[in-house]
């Protein structure tokens, strides 16, 4: 049997398709992307090495600064709110029996739907004359221009989009926490009740410490997801008004495929990749601790 499992030819047959695809469609393009980010490259001219020029432009690009600000806002907002809401919902749902699956499935539903479609849906709900504003008009209130207001440091459309993102993706965090919580042994809780804990206390001293590894996982998923954020914004505001709701991904798309500045867009892509890696490493370092026996 050993001979059969060490068969070099069979190993090659098994691994080759995946390996070739991965190398040519993922690994080499990433290297190219890094190279292009040091090049003057657009739709008309071939790449020409210009060193750090693109990265210097990044620093003076006002839209990019807004995009970074918005991306970081999304990152923090989604990490914090998804953690709180996700945990809260998971705690509630694991405490009820009747209808648990029903509520769980309803809240998770938007996660599997197309965020392009949901973005359009919410665009209509928050549009000046439809949806929420129709509802408010019935109550005699004139609703604000949800997606066009530009006052404040974090403008109203950003809060609206962040809310929609929370609405769409909180189900995912909830699901992950629920899976982890239901893996905790019942006897731990029973012991804590005998020791005089109430539900809130046992949540604080048993559930929270035991689900910490999952918090790290869910948070890094959120963080990467919010940095990659594209569909919702593209369909709700397209980065407008006046580039005020641009994030890194939409800015990359604009620069790369509207203005065809391939080199510059690659530099934004590299920035995005580096941010993803830093944030994941950071979250895993800060949140993750050793696994407890459950």
């Amino acid at each position: 049997m050993d001979k059969l499992l060490r068969n070099k030819k069979a190993i090659c047959v098994f691994m080759a398709p995946a390996f070739i695809l991965f190398t040519f469609v993922l690994f080499i393009p990433i290297c190219q992307s890094v190279y292009y980010s040091f090049c003057d490259y657009n739709a008309l001219t071939p790449p020409k090495f210009i060193g750090l020029e693109n990265y210097k432009t990044l620093l003076s690009d006002t839209t990019l600064i807004i995009a970074i600000k918005n991306s970081i806002f999304f990152l923090i907002f989604s990490c914090v709110t998804q953690l709180i809401m996700g945990l809260f919902l998971a705690a509630l749902l694991t405490n009820i029996d009747k209808g648990r699956n029903l509520f769980k499935n309803i809240i998770y539903l938007p996660c599997v739907l197309s965020s392009a479609a949901l973005g359009l849906l919410w665009m209509f709900i928050f549009s000046p004359k439809l949806g929420i504003n129709q509802l408010l008009a019935k109550l005699g209130i004139e609703g604000p221009l949800w997606l066009m207001d530009t006052n404040g440091y974090i403008i109203l459309p950003m809060w609206v989009i962040a809310f929609v993102a929370l609405w769409q993706y909180v189900g995912q965090s909830m699901m992950l926490y629920m899976a982890q919580i239901s893996g905790i042994s019942k006897s731990l809780y029973e012991a804590s009740y005998i020791d005089g804990c109430n539900k809130v206390k046992s949540f604080r001293y048993i559930t929270l410490p035991l689900i910490r590894p999952m918090v790290a996982t869910a948070m890094s998923l959120n963080a990467i997801g919010s940095l990659k954020f594209f569909d919702l914004i593209f369909n709700m505001t397209e980065g407008g008004p006046n580039h005020k709701t641009e994030v890194l991904a939409t800015h990359l798309y604009q620069q790369g495929f509207k203005y065809f500045k391939y080199g510059y867009a690659s530099a934004i892509g590299v920035l995005l990749l580096v941010l993803c890696l830093i944030v994941t490493a950071f979250i895993n370092k800060v949140v993750k601790t050793e696994q407890y026996e459950m």
Binding site: A10, I30, N105, L109, L121, L130
Partner: protein, 275 residues
């Protein structure tokens, strides 16, 4: 008989409010998509007076959502099938075959989970444009397949590793070749895992917008999210048609979700717990 306590009631009240927040927007769109455009403004929240399917028909044909749905199906089904075969082959190679670099190659594939698709967009686009893979469904299937592989490999490695050794041993004694062991013994046993990863792959690709938007500009080749985003936009003023288009785009995933929600949840948790 269980005691009904006040906290329990509060929990249910809160959950019902949440359910309303989740379902109301979907019902609203569904409701409006059967109305005429004028009715949206005169009676926004009432049920449609004379439900009409014309909006759907218009979005399906003139909005080119019909052809887009077909394209999406082709792309998703082919990606699904290929990712299952290629992914589980590699997973078997990593989990069961004995070679030095098995662990390392698993890491290589798992790195792919962290890479945002945006980072490879430009090199892929310029290369594909050169070899004529833009504006073709093959050009979409290749990156979709590649990005589906890490999760497939990851989940299937778990499945193959948990299979008992005796299984392979006895097949071996019966004189099976390694390929027979894989295709006839291990793969059928891993079908729950395959099903889960298949669902995840299907949903992710069905909803993918960015790559499809960059790679495809020919209306006849566009996938559903792209055609939808183009049809529903600031220059269209017929709201009920746009709402019908949104419904067309989300109905297939809602159906899949209703049928397989448990498996989808399994896939999600299995995929996320990557240690």
């Amino acid at each position: 008989m269980k005691k009904i306590t006040i906290p329990k009631i509060l929990i249910y009240v809160f959950l019902i409010i949440m359910a309303v927040i989740y379902l109301a927007p979907l019902f609203w769109v569904f409701n409006v998509s059967f109305k005429t455009n004028a009715e949206i403004f005169t009676a926004p929240f009432a049920l449609p007076k004379a439900p009409t399917f014309e909006n759907f028909a218009f979005a399906w044909t003139a909005g080119k959502l019909g052809i887009a749905t077909l394209n999406s199906f082709i792309v998703c089904i082919i990606t699904l099938a290929l990712s299952m075969v290629i992914g589980s082959m590699a997973a078997f190679g990593i989990a069961r075959m004995r070679w030095k670099l098995a662990k390392l190659s698993l890491t290589y594939f798992l790195i792919g989970m962290m890479i945002p698709v945006h980072c490879v967009l430009i090199p892929l686009f310029t290369r594909f444009a050169k070899v004529g893979l833009t504006n073709s469904l093959v050009g979409l299937i290749l990156p979709y397949l590649t990005f589906a592989l890490p999760i497939t490999i990851f989940i299937m490695v778990g499945f193959f590793e948990s299979m008992p050794n005796e299984l392979i041993e006895s097949a071996c004694i019966d004189g099976a070749t390694i390929y027979e062991i894989f295709f006839k013994v291990c793969l059928p046993l891993g079908k729950t895992g395959l099903f889960v990863t298949g669902l995840m792959t299907f949903i992710a690709n069905w909803n993918e917008l960015l790559l499809a938007m960059v790679f495809i500009s020919d209306d006849m080749k566009k996938t559903l999210p792209v055609s939808l985003s183009k049809f529903v936009g600031p220059y269209n003023t017929n709201y009920s048609q746009m709402f019908a288009a949104i419904i067309i785009a989300i109905i297939p995933t809602i159906v899949v979700y209703c049928a397989f929600s448990n498996q989808i949840v399994d896939g999600l948790t299995a995929g996320a717990v990557k240690g």
